[in-house]
């Protein structure tokens, strides 16, 4: 079942075209990776899916805003509030039926229970990112959008994050994430979008990109693919 569908999605900032005519869909329990060089339009595309940006053109079919979990690239949390206060605030804003139970569950799942009373400003970058992700998941969304979720995490935290996300995917959550880590995309995503200069250059399973470029190594195939197209 399709959870999210984009048709001819475009976004302009003045004269600059950030995303141009992008179409794709995301089914229930699917994981989609969006890759591309810096400035490709990955964050802009995810922001439009999250509802933070309004598309200039195109159609978007989305579940209601509260059914979408959004984890932006820069942690979007209140530094002066504690971990639990941040989670409780967003649980209330997301109109979660039992905010306290949701906060307790999320603290447990993200391993932040012992830091619940600490101000977020006093946490390490990795722990801040865990709070950032926990807020995105607090309402148990049907679709989870993550913008470079593992960039601030060490390998152990990264593995734990994906273990956590995969458990959600197994429960039917659809995930779209942007990343610069091609190995991460290959390992966790069933579908791949390759963007460059706002244009969608490839949409399909990661192995299809390797096959198209006659490369077993996806990262090398990706670089070759972009170079061939002048990026």
């Amino acid at each position: 079942m399709t959870q999210l569908e984009a048709r001819g999605l475009s976004k302009r900032f003045g004269e600059r075209v950030a995303v141009s005519d992008v179409s794709f869909s995301l089914g229930t329990g699917e994981v989609l990776a969006i890759i591309g060089p810096n400035g490709a339009g990955k964050t802009t595309l995810l922001s439009m899916l999250a509802g933070s940006l309004v598309p200039t053109a195109g159609e978007l079919h989305l579940p209601p805003a509260r059914a979408i979990g959004w984890v932006p690239q820069q942690s979007a949390v209140y530094s002066k509030l504690s971990v639990a206060e941040n989670l409780r605030l967003f649980a209330k804003l997301e109109r979660v039926a039992d905010p306290d139970a949701a906060v307790a569950a999320m603290l447990e799942q993200t391993g932040l229970r012992t830091r619940a009373g600490d101000e977020v400003g006093s946490l390490s970058g990795g722990n801040r990112q865990r709070v950032n992700i926990a807020i995105g998941l607090i309402a148990d969304p049907a679709v989870l959008l993550l913008d470079e979720p593992s960039s601030a995490l060490d390998p152990r935290q990264r593995a734990r994050l994906w273990e956590f996300i995969n458990a959600r995917v197994a429960g039917g959550t659809s995930v779209a994430f942007a990343t610069h880590d091609i190995a991460e995309a290959e390992r966790y995503a069933g579908q791949l979008l390759v963007l460059a200069d706002g244009e969608l250059l490839f949409a399909g399973p990661p192995e299809d990109l390797g096959a198209a470029e006659h490369e077993h190594d996806l990262e090398r195939a990706f670089v070759h693919f972009l170079t061939e197209r002048g990026h």
């Binding site: 940006l53 979408i68 206060e85 807020i135």
Partner: protein, 446 residues
């Protein structure tokens, strides 16, 4: 609207955890209230001026006709405007000015009584300054106003003396001069006597003709001297001021200063807090998270404006209550104060959220708030007569499109019942709230 409570609670919690800001919000109104209260309730310090009176005590009283003038009386008048430091010589007076003990020296020369008594030459007092333009202006203002009063009093006295001499010439009487006493006939009686003598002379007598001519002159002299009394009275006070206020009630300067101080404080608290709290959402990255369907732009802006206005209201009311300990305020109008402060606070806060929506971080928001607010205060306080008509029109328009002037007028009307009316000022503020609210919404568009 269900999001309003958690958002307000969150912002209050963030405020509470910023100890420097909380301390500032508590200390600021108390400190300003005490400062303004003390400044308005205590007398201004008088300029220290070296004072040398060289008039010998035996000549301190001047006799002008029947009027006696004591120079010490004018000394007392002058000492209401300056703090005199008595010195023994001109050299000491100059030395005091040079070394900064006093900011000027005032010397009454020994010839002053003689000059005054002669009434034919101008009497002089001497003032020595230290070259500092501000000090000179301060002493000039203090001394000149008192000298003007002394001159007016002297002119009145001299007028009375002249009046008594004219009366003596007209109606006659006794004149005491240089210790001797003389009987003066007076023009009225002289004319009557001449008329009686002429009546006894033959009509064709040349002596009668001459006496009649002299009698006619006496008649003219009596008429004109009588008229000259009113002329001398007018010269003593050539221009008098009749005061009239065209509309409304004139606000005493002290009470107007209270309205200005409270408006400025309300403005700073509301604009800085509203712009800072909204910019903080952007700086923390939470604005995008809130705006993706969790909270509408209108609700988010209203929450920030409400928070800033509430804090501003509490701070400015505390300040006004503090000032009320020093300056008498009409506590019966407290509901109107609150209405004016609430409307002003919301207008300032709406301007603040518009600024906060336009910038990317708290520092930029604070700088923008200061850069915009300070000139607005100065512009709103520019008196009409001090700039050209065209420039004042520009100032009037600029002041009208920002909330400071309207908030000041609302507070002045609430505290001092001044014009324009509170209702008019509240209407102006409501229009500005709508305008800046629309700008803020536009700036927050995703």
């Amino acid at each position: 609207m269900t999001a309003l409570r958690p958002l307000l609670g969150k912002d209050l919690r963030i405020l509470r955890r910023s100890p420097a800001l909380v301390a500032l919000l508590i200390i600021y109104p108390i400190a300003i209230a005490i400062l303004i209260g003390l400044a308005l309730s205590s007398s201004p310090a008088l300029p220290r001026v070296a004072f040398l009176n060289e008039i010998p005590p035996s000549q301190a009283t001047i006799q002008l006709g029947s009027e006696t003038i004591k120079t010490t009386r004018y000394e007392k008048e002058l000492f209401q405007a300056i703090q005199p430091v008595r010195v023994a010589s001109v050299a000491q007076a100059i030395e005091d000015v040079r070394n900064g003990t006093t900011i000027a020296a005032l010397i009454i020369p020994p010839a002053l009584p003689e000059q005054l008594a002669s009434a034919s030459q101008t009497a002089y007092v001497k003032v020595i300054y230290n070259g500092n333009a501000v000090n000179q202006s301060l002493v000039e203002q203090a001394i000149e106003s008192k000298l003007a009063q002394a001159n007016a009093l002297l002119a009145a006295q001299l007028s009375k003396v002249a009046d008594s001499y004219i009366n003596l010439l007209l109606t006659g009487g006794r004149l005491n001069f240089l210790g001797a006493s003389y009987q003066i006939l007076g023009l009225v009686k002289a004319r009557e006597m001449l008329a009686a003598i002429a009546a006894h002379l033959p009509a064709s007598s040349p002596t009668r003709r001459e006496i009649v001519q002299v009698e006619g002159f006496a008649q003219v002299a009596v008429s004109h001297l009588g008229g000259s009394k009113s002329v001398i009275g007018a010269v003593a006070a050539p221009i008098a001021v009749q005061q009239e206020t065209l509309s409304g009630r004139r606000t005493p300067l002290n009470n107007y200063a209270v309205a200005v101080a409270v408006s400025v404080s309300l403005m700073f608290v509301c604009i800085l807090l509203a712009s800072g709290m909204l910019a903080l959402e952007r700086e923390e990255g939470t604005l995008g998270r809130l705006r993706r369907g969790l909270v509408s732009a209108g609700l988010l802006l209203s929450e920030k404006a409400l928070l800033a206005a509430l804090v501003g209201l509490a701070v400015s009311f505390a300040m006004l209550a503090g000032i009320g300990l020093f300056v008498p305020l009409g506590w019966g109008r407290v509901a109107l104060w609150l209405a004016a402060m609430a409307a002003g606070g919301i207008a300032f806060a709406t301007l603040g959220v518009a600024m906060g929506a336009l910038v990317r971080d708290v520092r930029a928001a604070s700088l923008l708030a200061l850069f915009v607010s300070l000139p607005l205060v100065f512009l709103a306080l520019v008196p009409q007569a001090t700039v050209s008509a065209g420039l004042f029109e520009v100032i009037r328009i600029v002041s009208a499109v920002f909330p400071f002037k309207a908030a000041l007028e609302a507070l002045d009307a609430a505290i001092n019942q001044s014009q324009p009316s509170l209702l008019e000022a509240l209407g102006h503020l409501a229009a500005l709230i709508a305008g800046f609210g629309a700008i803020a919404r536009l700036a927050l568009r995703p």
